[in-house]
Structures are given as C-alpha cells and as structure tokens.
Subunit: 361 residues, 2 copies
DNA sequence: GCAGTATCTGTAAACGTTTTCAGCTCGCTG
DNA sequence: CAGCGAGCTGAAAACGTTTACAGATACTGC
C-alpha cells in the first residue's frame, strides 16, 4: 500500500476506500452516507491509523479549540488552583489549555492580549498584576474574547471576575480582634499592585471600624514571598516586641512570618497570631495550620472559564455587554489564630493539596 | 477602506499596498524586496493592524510551535516546578506550552500520546504515573517526538529523563541513621506506582546497608497526600510509640505526618525526625523546615524540554537513538531532622516559592 | 545603447480540511 | 414503465499562508 509519505490524510483514505474526499469527510463527521460507504471509509481510516489534522480543521473552521491562560508565575499556589479549575472546565467543553507566564512583565502581558490576533487560541483569561492605561487600550481592541481575573474600571467593556480583597482583609483583621488581638501588624507586598493596595485598604478599614490605633510603622510592604515575610516579621518584632498578631497579605508571607516567630521561640497562636490570605494549599499543610481568607481562587477560575466559553459558544456574541462578577471572600479559621480550631481540615476544596506523586522513578 | 469583514490578511495588505500577496509574505518574512515595496507593505500592515494567522502558518509549515506537557495533576508542587521550567525553555525557543492533566487515568495518558497525530503540538513531554505495556506500544508508534519523565524499559526507543529515587531514598534514610535514628518508619504512596515502588526499595536497601531491622508493620502505603500522611503517622504512632523517625515518600506525606506528630505534642526533630522527598516549595515553607531529597524536578523539566527541542530542531532527526538521562538526587538537610540546620534556606532553586501575589482585586 | 545578469515580482500550487453545489443513483408512486 | 423526489456522491472552492517557478524589471560593464 502506497504509504505516500507523511501521515495519512483524508486523501489517502479516499484513495484506499475508492471514494471522494468529501465522502470521507462526511463519514468521519457523522453526516449521512450509505452504509456501504461508511463501512469502506471507516475500514480504510482504521487501517491507516488516521488522525484528523487539527490545524487544518482550525484553519477551515476558524476556531482552534484552545484557550489561553496568562498569569505572572505558575509557581504561585493561587494560580495553580486557577489553572487546575480552568483546565477542568475547558477540557469538559473540548478545549485545550495554553499556559503563558508573563513574569509580571507588563509588555509581555500586553503582547499576550495582542497575540489573540494570531488565532492561536479562541479566547484568553488574563490575570494581570497591575492595570495600566495601556492594558485598557489593548484590552478594548482585543482580537478575541478576553476575561480578566482582577479589577477593571467600570467602563471598560471586558468581562471580569474579581475578588473582594478589601472585604477579605477586613474579615481577617476582625477575626484577629475578636480573638483578643490589639496590636496587629501588616505584612504586605508592593503597594502599587492591585492586591497590595486593596489588602492594605481592608486592613486600615478594619482597624478604623474596630477603633484600634493605626501605627504606620507596624506595616511592611516589600515583596509577596516567603523570604520577604520572614524578614519583615523579624524586623517588626525587633521594633515592636509587643505585637500580638501578624496579618499577612498572602499565605506565603504568612508562612515566612511564622518561621520568624518560631525562630524567636515564640508560640503561635499563644504569643502571636498569624493570618494569611488566599487559603492556598500551603495554609492547610502548615503547622499550626494557617488561618486564611479564601478569596475564591477556585471559584474565580471556574467562573472566568465559564464566562469565556459563554462568549465563544454563545449565540448572542455581541448581545451582552461586559459582565462583572465578584467572588465572596470566606474566612477559614485554623490553628494559627485559634488553638481550638479543628485539627483535621474540613477538606476545604475538592482535591486538597494534590494527590499525586512527584514523578516517576 | 474596505474592511472586507474579518481580520486583516495578507490579501487585504496586498490590495492596500498594491502588490501581490507573495510580495507581502516576503516582506513580512524579511526576504529580499525593493525598499519601495517594503515601505508600502509595512505601512499597509501597520495601518490594518495585521497579525499573521498562526494556524495558516502551521498548516503550511507543518509545525505549530507548540509543545505539550502532560502530567496527572498540576496541583502537585513537583509538576509545578517542572511546568515552570519547561515553559521557560520552551518560550525561549519560541514555543508555546500546552498543559494537559490526565488525572492519572491511564486511558487519558494514552490518548494524549495518540493525539500527537492531530498535529496540535510538535512534541510531547509525558510524565506517566505507571508504565503499562500499552504505554510502551503507544509510545513506540507515536506520531511525533516524545520525552518521558520517568523510568522506561531500556529497549524502548523513546527519550527519557529519570530521577533516581532509589538512591534518593537511601540518602534520606542514611541521614536519619547518621543523626542517631534507629526506628525509622516508612510512609508511602501506592506500591504499584513507579515512585511508590522505588522509594520503598531505597528504604529497604538503606536499612539493610545500615544493619537496621526491617519491621514490615512500620510501613504504610496508601495515597500520596497530606491527609494520608497524617492518618498514617497517627496509626504508626499508636502501634509503635517508640518510633524515632518518619521517612516519607514525598513532601506532602511528610507534612501530613508532621501535623500528626505536632498534634500529639511531640517535638520535631527532638522526639521524632521527619524527612520527605521531592524538595518541593512546601519543604522550605514548613515549620520546622523539612529535610527533603531533591530529585531534580527543575533539572528534569529543563532536560526534558531541551531533549525535545533537540529532536525538533535537530538535523539528525533519526540519527540518535533514544537517549536516557538520570538526575542525581541531592539531600537537603533542614530543621525537621537537624536542629542545627541553618534557618535561612540557601534559596534552593532560583525563584523559590514564587514571588507573585494571589491575583488582583 | 545593448547584451547579460542579478534582483525583484506575480501567478499558482500546496498544506488538509469542510462545505456548497450540481449531478447522479435509487426507490417509489401512479 | 415513466416520472419524481429523496438521498448520496464528487468536483471544486475556500480558509491564510509559504514558496517554486517563470516572467519582468533594474542594474552592470562594455
């Protein structure tokens, strides 16, 4: 049988089955055909081990059945949670997922949006760390549907799923106050990021609501990361030995701070309480388990994916204007603030901290 | 200004610039053209906001500039490390990365390999949890280059990057013995997985080497996960109150076990030492920081990506037979086994536990 | 100014599929 | 048995690009 060279195509099948390529295509797509023809084509296809060329199908059909998710660094547990959820939704709808790390480089983020024009994927979920005027401009003239995970000015016509980190931060600080803490320091990431800014706002509001004094020097804002959290906590404890709680703008900062506390021989939560945000897998893996605010990473991932698929499958493409959804934050109390918190985590979300092994060998 | 409908193509550019589509293509690809022509084309392209259709380019060129990475669940920190590294290498070579979670479903893993035939991506990095005869069959007749991260029988003509978890496990157990531990329990994942099997072998070998007795009932093998580790540790401590160390087949098990130890009011490492494997981000975020064996996830990711790119760009496509590489395991001693271990982690690998925030809002 | 050459340009085919359109075959009805 | 319509089928166009080929133009050296 003439292998022709290269993988089998509908042409090879057509030759082998003695029919036209149109018939082959129809049979393979389940469109009407005579039983006789169906049999011949299916037989030939099976014998040749035919697999349809998705690229050609994409070119013809104008859709690639691929979605892109762009965030700054897959290393962050929050993005991992989102990726997992987005992938699940996408796959269920027959879409593949393309991953793009921007390393928080603005120009790279913009490039991702522009690259929608190359038709490589049908839609984009973008998780920007900052929103600049250029973002807005590029987003509003994107070549395909985009859903932003994050806050967007109200008049921008782009779908968005937001977290309410102001409210989330307030929840955490309120909880710390309710459990008797009065001198609550803030360990934060860069203030010129949306989360850095908003989480601080929540902290300030909560202090004000509670009538607690705000000491500007009981705040640290450097990076979002373990080492930064540890350093900040040590500094704060040096300067303010009377602190009784750390509110940290994410779980990684919180774990870093916890390390510093432990290193000084202090106890969590008896001497110092620690609370984080994001309720990532880290929180329940820590000791003591970390009180954290679930900002709905999983839910936001799912919603964003759904919204995007809506735009894609939807008959009313232009019909609906930009939609906005906000995930409601939820406080998860664990041992780092409350010694009485149940030891066994109530298996927060689904699969927990992943069940697999670390790769064969 | 005939917008024609649909996004700009080389045809629209050709019309607007008054040249043929061939000239447009040449200019855009930097092949020789008269300065005059270049100017006209570039002008028209810019005015129309032209972005080349990557799908059409793929169809013509036969390569998509996409790579696929398939593993069971992105939730596992080890895979996250690999993804990050693979993405970095891929992107540097101008490739996009397609992510595929198989949920450890064998049939799904096989489907991924077969789907190489649809030309959606130019190559595949596969991280299987088990290797079945079907794997071997499907792999050896894959429609494109594949690199497996994991162990493969020697006669299978497929590139592979392996970890040496037998040696790795021995390192950890030896270390525990050297620091005075004698009753070392094993907390493992399923024995019918490659890692589960191999890590146990390493444990057994180390015990034998060291002349330590092996108590079959000081082993637990259930799942690879936090909860499983916690449960197993509690059971073991109930049955063998005299244990002085837990060797765990991955970091998640180890952190679960640590929780159990803490819950019983025992101290780590004074009363019980705990060691894990994989040296994931979790290990340095924990308290006390977790002694773990770095099986080279980052390195394996990088190597796998490089090998794949070699196959793709390589002139000598068929020239080289299957290549095999093994990453050398490395013990990272931290506070969970050695109270004197340096508190500040020597910033194990590059970016550490991720530096980003938890997504805007 | 002319032959010869080097450079550039346009036409057309190709990549592998889906889909329109017209034509064909077949079975049915009268 | 003629006529009709339903149902299949095949030829061809289309998706947007790259590229071989041949034809056109501009240059060089005399």
């Amino acid at each position: 049988m003439s292998d022709g060279g290269g993988p089998p195509t509908i042409v090879s099948i057509a030759e082998r089955a003695g029919v036209s390529i149109a018939s082959v295509s129809r049979v393979l797509n389940g469109v009407g055909a005579r039983p006789d023809t169906v049999r011949k084509v299916e037989r030939a296809a099976a014998e040749l081990g035919y697999v349809p060329n998705a690229v050609a199908q994409s070119l013809k059909g104008g859709r690639t059945k691929q979605l892109t998710f762009a965030m700054q660094d897959i290393g962050n547990p929050v993005y991992v949670a989102m990726v997992r959820e987005i992938q699940a939704v996408a796959r269920a709808a027959g879409y593949r997922l393309l991953l793009h790390s921007t390393d928080a480089v603005i120009e790279d983020e913009l490039a991702v949006v522009r690259s929608l024009g190359d038709r490589t994927s049908d839609g984009l979920i973008l998780c920007p760390i900052r929103i600049t005027p250029e973002h807005i401009e590029v987003l509003s003239q994107a070549a395909g549907p985009v859903v932003v995970i994050g806050s967007l000015p109200g008049d921008v016509q782009v779908d968005a799923v937001q977290a309410d980190s102001v409210a989330g931060a307030r929840l955490a600080v309120q909880h710390l106050a309710e459990t008797g803490r009065r001198r609550i320091a803030l360990i934060n990431g860069p203030l010129d990021t949306v989360p850095g800014h908003n989480r601080r706002q929540g902290y300030l509001k909560a202090l004000a609501d509670l009538g607690l004094p705000h000491h500007p020097d009981a705040e640290r804002a450097t990076e979002f990361g373990l080492a930064a959290g540890r350093t900040a906590a040590h500094q704060l404890l040096d300067e303010h030995p009377d602190l009784d709680a750390f509110f940290c703008a994410n779980d990684q900062l919180a774990l870093g701070a916890s390390q510093a506390v432990h290193e000084r021989g202090l106890r969590i939560p008896e001497d110092i309480a620690v609370a984080g945000m994001d309720d990532s897998d880290l929180a329940q893996a820590a000791w003591p388990p970390l009180t954290s605010v679930d900002l709905g990473s999983v839910e936001r991932g799912r919603l964003a994916a759904r919204m995007l698929l809506d735009r894609l499958g939807g008959a009313d493409l232009e019909a609906t204007r930009a939609r906005r959804t906000t995930a409601v934050p939820r406080l998860v109390v664990r041992g780092s603030t409350d010694p009485a918190a149940p030891a066994a985590p109530a298996t927060a979300h689904g699969t927990g901290t992943g069940s697999g092994t670390g790769a064969s060998a």
